[in-house]
Symmetry: C2
Subunit: 430 residues, 2 copies
């Protein structure tokens, strides 16, 4: 089929009629397929069930340094967990704090602490006239929710295929003292699934922020989440690069095992410089006596070491790779020649990003919903949920079964085509 | 032996000489006995080891409402856990939020949220001129650390055998709009081990605070921690009493299973009114996707129901009751007739409170330390660590073995006697 824009009005109306008939048929099936969030599917969760009896009633829950993991203590986490997550994050165990079950919570708390107590002795953000964050767009909605919640002004920065537009980032960060942070998902980004280039990471590490309390919020959520054995993205380790660049305190790096073992029952971690570490621990020791060490021990004994985790991630990939490939296949097959959108073909992570014709995303998502396919609300990938182009849609292929996913993508592409034709017809009329 | 104050100078010096000889002998033993914190001992931790295989690799981790506990979701906790902790806290499950592993963390976050966003739509505390908290003294050092961390001015309120002096509480709360909260450990209080009388609870529920954003921080940490079957304290349930008094939103009530299962690996909970609940959830949904549901399920399946937990607490009591009794016995035997201090004989909780002669507590704790017995630092039970009488010492009998505890208490009482004699001799000289 030729591109829609090259079709005559009659051809488009003919096509629309056929598509609407198909759409009605889908509606009649009363489906309910939820593709709104990046959730592992049941088969993925089953991979970690062996963790349930790693610790037994007869087990010794003493960790290597003699700490009884069942009692209070070890604020920064047990050594074994710092080693494992250090290996996972490519950081030194001594630069790691192990937290509870949610890295999002750690990010929230980090912003909250900057708000109430300031960053490393600087004026608390709540006492500063204005606080701004750079937000690479499209990006992760829950990052934006945190900054919005604290009344931090969010400034969108366009993403390129190699990461945020660094010309814009450098200019803003180096000239504006009220810019205190930037949200980054550097590897298999949410929602694009792209990874920052070496040059991007190097330029990040060499930022000379106007604000002394500026920090890069480096959410390395998908560091281990490759889809392929033979084609994998690699990014430069940011802490080491910052140190080499004479900027050791520039970065807070976050990660967790949420999508490695169980979402909500994994362990989260922060990696940062010794100076930042002191800042974190000073706060943390007021906030809690420590995180769940039994769960830390359960994780380290389950994986053994990083090789165990790498093997485990291969099993995840085997389950979700066909889903990504099916989404890409159906997009290509149903939309490939029509010039009604573009999408990414990531090598890892949890999402595929789709960009429709401008002004169509909300309509597509609403249309899909009426046919029983729930997508992440259009606009979610932008600060304040306002996608200025109304074109960006995040596709989360992992949770549904292959059969459901196939159906959902058929519905989705029909919705894209209907919206696109309507848009083109309207543009021709105007 | 007669009271020290009735002894002559010569008698006192003679006694001192004997005691110092004993003290030197203790020092020579190079002990290291840590009684500084309220930590369960190993036998107590062993009681919960059966929890390790409540969930098995073959288990279905679906909870009653169909939620897969392994995946994201259920921000306020799984229904089973809300029922169990509801029964434990004597509250309706719908008034409960289940949190992570630390109720202290929930208290910290609650203050932090009030600081950044205010209580139920009121001006954030960070934008108010002054924020004060009432602190019943002696009290729990970690409560005071949180308020101090936020720069909240702490006003000590004397404890009586029936709870905080309510005349002072009422007058302060009802006249001063900058007073925003009060820390309470209403049952088997830290450090006294006393419980609030019915009248105290009723007066709390009937407070008419000058500040609309005043809340009672009701830390019911030891609700289940009876030492005896036949002698138990009971307190009026505060949420229900507040509701009856037309003050439904006055209280935040905290609890956890930290000293029921494992410190650091238990589950924490908040109970509060529907209005407050909305306030909490609005914040919480920005902060996290939810807490550890697998651990919630593990706890509920381990206990079955509240009766299982009550039985479990009996086993704890059997282990620690002899420790409390030994402490009380040695205090009575070694200090009973000397008039050099008073102490509590609690029916539950984790502590015995000792009050020395004024001006002796720091000296006693330092002296014990030099003989290898680590006590909670003197002053810790007061805001800013300043005990105006320098008399209060918290004794934590649970962690050491019976043998260690006996030794530690012998050392402690010798230290008390030496300090007291020195104090009396000095007073006589002045």
């Amino acid at each position: 089929m030729k591109p829609y824009v090259e079709m005559t009005k009659e051809e488009l109306n003919e096509e629309l009629k056929k598509l609407e008939a198909r759409y009605k048929k889908y509606q009649a099936e009363s489906m309910h397929l939820d593709m709104s969030r990046g959730k592992p599917c049941q088969e993925q969760l089953d991979l970690s069930m062996a963790m349930m009896d790693v610790l037994k009633p007869s087990s010794d829950l003493t960790c290597d340094d003699g700490t009884d993991c069942r009692n209070y203590g070890q604020l920064t986490g047990i050594e074994e967990a710092r080693v494992l997550l250090g290996d996972m994050m490519e950081n030194n165990p001594k630069d790691i704090i192990i937290y509870g079950n949610s890295s999002l919570n750690v990010m929230f708390d980090t912003i909250s602490r900057a708000w109430t107590h300031g960053v490393m002795g600087n004026t608390p953000w709540c006492r500063q006239k204005e606080v701004k964050f750079l937000c690479p767009v499209p990006g992760y909605d829950r990052h934006f929710s945190i900054t919005e919640y604290f009344g931090i002004k969010m400034i969108p920065v366009p993403m390129t295929p190699s990461g945020p537009d660094m010309d814009i980032v450098e200019k803003a960060v180096e000239s504006d003292e009220s810019i205190k942070g930037i949200w980054c998902v550097p590897k298999y980004s949410n929602p694009q699934g792209i990874s920052y280039s070496d040059e991007t990471v190097r330029r990040f590490a060499r930022l000379r922020p106007a604000a002394k309390d500026f920090r890069i919020f480096w959410d390395n959520a998908y560091g281990m989440h490759h889809l392929y054995d033979d084609r994998q993205d690699h990014i430069i380790e940011i802490l080491a690069e910052c140190k080499r660049a004479g900027n050791p305190d520039l970065v807070y790096k976050f990660a967790s095992t949420s999508k490695i073992t169980f979402p909500g029952s994994g362990i989260a971690a922060l990696a940062t410089s010794p100076n930042n570490m002191v800042d974190f621990v000073t706060n943390l020791k007021i906030q809690t006596l420590g995180h769940d060490k039994v769960n830390q021990l359960r994780h380290t004994r389950f994986f053994g070491d990083i090789h165990g985790m790498v093997e485990h991630m291969r099993k995840h990939a085997d389950i979700i790779r066909p889903k990504f490939e099916m989404v890409e296949h159906i997009l290509e097959q149903n939309l490939g020649s029509l010039d009604v959108g573009t999408w990414t073909n990531p090598l890892g992570g949890y999402f595929i990003m789709f960009d429709s014709l401008p002004g169509c995303a909300k309509d597509i998502v609403a249309r899909a919903k009426k046919a029983g396919v729930i997508l992440t609300p259009a606009g979610s990938t932008w600060p304040y949920k306002k996608d200025i182009n109304d074109s960006n849609i995040r596709i989360a292929p992992t949770f549904p079964s292959m059969k459901e996913l196939e159906k959902a993508m058929e519905v989705f592409t029909v919705c894209v085509r209907i919206s696109s034709i309507k848009k083109i017809l309207k543009d021709q009329k105007d």
